[in-house]
Amino acid sequence: MIRKVGVLVSLLGVLFMVTACGGEKEDASTTTVKWLTSRPVGGAIDETMREIADQYSKEKGGKWKIDFETTADRPSYLQKLKTLVAGNNMPDIIDTDPDLYAKELVKAGKLVDMKKFLQKNDYYQNFYPTALKYQEFSDGSMYTLPLEYHVEMIWYNKKLFSQHGISVPKTFDQWLAACKKLKEAGVTPISVDGIDRWPVQRYLAMPAFRQTGNQFIENLSQGKEKMSSQTGVDSVKFVKEIGQYFNEGFSATDYATAQSMFLDGKSAMYYIGDWEIGAMQEKYDAGEIDYFYMPTTKDSVTAANEFCVNSGIGMAFNAETFDEKTKDFLLYVLDHYADIYTKKMQMSPIKTELPKDVDYSSLYLRIRKDMDNTGEQFMKPWDTYLDSSTNTIVQDNLLLVGSGDMKIQDFVKMIDDSIKVNVTDQ
C-alpha cells in the first residue's frame, strides 16, 4: 500500500513539473509573430497566408516564424480575442471587423493605421476602392486590411421560376410579388439562416440603402436619426413583408440547412455571397440555378449595380509590436497575396490580372466582371455601425418581426430606446 502511495505521489510530482513548466522553449534568435485569426481552417486565405509565411520564412533563413492560432467559429473567436485584450495580451496580429469594438481599440492606440501604411508604401491604389472603403470607419480612417472581396446576391432556382412563370425581379415590389406567387403554389420562396442572425439583418438594411445609401444607418447609429422615421419604418415593414416568405421556422434554421434546402430544390431563392461559389458551381453549370442582385425601387438613390459588397473580416496589427520585421513581412504579403490567392479561384481585394495558366469557370469570370462594374456606393452591413447593445437587440428581435410575432411599432420603439440609452445619453 505504501508503495502504491509512493508511486502516486511521485507521479503527482512529475505531473506538477510537467504542467508548471509546460511553456514554450524558444530559440532566442528567431522572431515569432502570433496571428490570432478567425479564417476557416484549410480555406483559401488560410492556405495562402501559410504559403506566403513559409516562403518569407525561408527567405529570412528560418529566423522568422508566424504562429497561426485559428478559431474558425466567429463567436468563440471574439470571446477569446476580447478576453486576451482585457488581459492585456493582445497578439501581434488579429482579425476584426471595423466595428465599434475595433474603434475602441483604435482610440486606445492599439491598432496600426492601415490607410497611412498603404498610402506611405504606395499600395493604396492597388486595391479595389470598395474593398478598402468597406474597412473604413465612418470618419474615413482605416485600420484593418482586407484579405478577400465578395459580392452578395440572391440565388434562384431557374426551374421553379419558369414553372411558375416568374421572371427575375428588378424591383422590391416585383420581388415580393414573385414570393407571393411561389408561396401560393406551395413552394418555399426563400430559405434563410436565422440562427446566425446577420442574414435576416441584411433584409432590414435593403430598403434603407435604396432610399439613402448608407446615410440612414450611419445617422441612426450616431443617434442623429430615428428608427421611427419613414426610412426606418419602411425597412422594418419590408422585413415583416418578406419574412412571411421565409421557410417555416427560419429563426432556428442554421446556415448549412438553409443552403442545402436551396441546393436541393426545396426553396426557390437564397441570399448568400460569392464565397459559396464552390457550392453553387455544379448546379450553375448544369443550368439549374442563377443569381440576381438586390432589386431597386422607383426613387432609389443607389443604382442597380450598387448592393452589398464586403471585403470580409480585416487583418489588424498590434501597434505596440509592429516593428520593422513585421512591416517587412506585411509588404511581402502585399506583393504576393493577389497572385497566390487568385490562383485558388478567389476574388482578390488587390487588383491583379488573372493568371493565364488557370482555368476559371464561367461563373467566376461573370462574378468578377460584376465586381469590376459595381457602382461607387455599396451596402455596408448594419452590425458594423450599431453599438453592440443595440445590435444585439436588433438581431434578436428582428427574428420576431420576420416571423410575424412582433409588431413594427414595438420593434421600432425598442431600437429607438436602445439608441437613446447607449448612444445619445453618453
Binding site: R39, A72, T83, L84
Partner: protein
C-alpha cells in the same frame, strides 16, 4: 399473472428508454457517413450512399490525434488532482475535530453556484499576472477548482458512513492520521472515486470554454477546440466532418467509462459491506 405483466412492462420501459438514450450516438455515427447536403435535407434517414469522405477529411491532416492527446493529458492530470485533493479535503472536513469545519465546507459549496463564463476574464488577467498563461497549468487549475466543490461534497457524504470507531481503532494501533487515511479510509472510497472520475473525466474532456480561452499554443489545442475547425466562411459549418470528428472524439470517454464501470460492480458489493 399480474406479477409477470408488471415485469414485462418494466422491461419494456427499460428497453424504450435504452433506445432513447443510445439513439444519439447511433444517429451521430450514421450522420457522419452522409454527405453534407443530404445531412441537412434528410437528417434522419439512412444514408443514400455511405461515404467515408468526412472521415478522410478529419483524419487526413493528422492533427486530430494530437488534439486527442492534448485532451487526454489535461483530463488525466486534472482527474488525479481532483481525486487526491477532494479525498483529502473531505477527510479533513469530516473526520477532524475543528471548530470551523462546517464553515469551510459551506465555503466550498459556494463554488457550484458560479456561472463559469464570468470567471474567464478575471482568471485570464490573474493567470497572466502570475505568469502561468501558456502552460497546461492554466487549463488544469480551473478544471480542478470547479470540480472540487461537488467532489468534496461527495467525499464528505461518503465519509459520514465510515464509522468513527474504525479510525479510532487505527489511532489506538499507533497509526498517524496520514496512515489512517491512506490505509484505512481511502481504500473504502473506491466507489466514490470511480463515480467522480467517470463524471469529471467526461466533463473535462468535453469542455470547450476554458480550453478556448486559456490555450494559446496551437500545438496544445484540445479536441473540443479542434471540432470547431470545420466552421467555414461566414459561419457555414461542415456538419459531416464535425460529426465524424465527434464520433472519433467520444471514443476515449466511452472506453474509459466502460472500463471504469467494470470496477464498479465489484466495488459496489464490497463497498456495501462496511467492515
Amino acid at each position: 399473472m399480474k406479477e409477470k405483466a408488471i415485469k414485462y412492462l418494466f422491461i419494456l420501459l427499460l428497453i424504450v428508454f435504452l433506445i432513447i438514450q443510445i439513439y444519439p450516438v447511433i444517429w451521430l455515427f450514421i450522420a457522419s457517413l452522409k454527405d453534407s447536403v443530404e445531412l441537412s435535407t434528410t437528417p434522419f434517414s439512412l444514408p443514400k450512399a455511405v461515404t467515408f469522405e468526412n472521415y478522410k477529411n478529419v483524419l487526413g491532416d493528422g492533427v486530430i490525434g494530437g488534439y486527442m492527446w492534448n485532451s487526454l493529458k489535461i483530463t488525466m492530470i486534472s482527474l488525479v488532482l481532483i481525486l487526491v485533493l477532494s479525498a483529502t479535503i473531505g477527510f479533513a472536513l469530516s473526520k477532524f475535530h475543528y471548530k470551523h469545519s462546517k464553515k469551510i465546507y459551506s465555503f466550498f459549496m459556494f463554488g457550484i453556484m458560479v456561472p463559469v463564463q464570468i470567471t474567464l476574464i478575471p482568471l485570464f488577467i490573474f493567470y497572466s499576472k502570475i505568469g502561468i498563461l501558456n502552460t497546461s497549468m492554466a487549463m488544469v487549475l480551473p478544471q480542478v477548482g470547479f470540480a472540487l466543490p461537488l467532489s468534496v461534497m461527495m467525499f464528505v457524504n461518503f465519509y459520514s458512513f465510515v464509522p468513527d470507531e474504525l479510525i479510532e481503532a487505527g489511532i489506538v494501533d499507533g497509526c498517524s492520521p496520514y496512515r489512517v487515511f491512506l490505509q484505512i479510509v481511502a481504500p473504502l472510497a473506491r466507489n466514490t472515486m470511480i463515480t467522480i472520475a467517470s463524471m469529471y473525466s467526461i466533463l473535462i474532456w468535453n469542455d470547450f470554454i476554458f480550453a478556448n480561452t486559456f490555450i494559446s499554443d496551437s500545438s496544445a489545442k484540445t479536441i473540443t477546440m479542434g471540432l470547431k475547425d470545420y466552421v467555414g466562411a461566414f459561419g457555414n459549418v461542415d456538419w459531416g466532418a464535425t460529426y465524424a470528428a465527434i464520433s472519433i472524439a467520444i471514443l476515449p470517454p466511452i472506453l474509459i467509462y466502460f472500463s471504469l464501470n467494470k470496477w464498479v460492480t465489484s466495488g459496489m458489493t464490497a463497498g456495501a459491506t462496511k467492515g
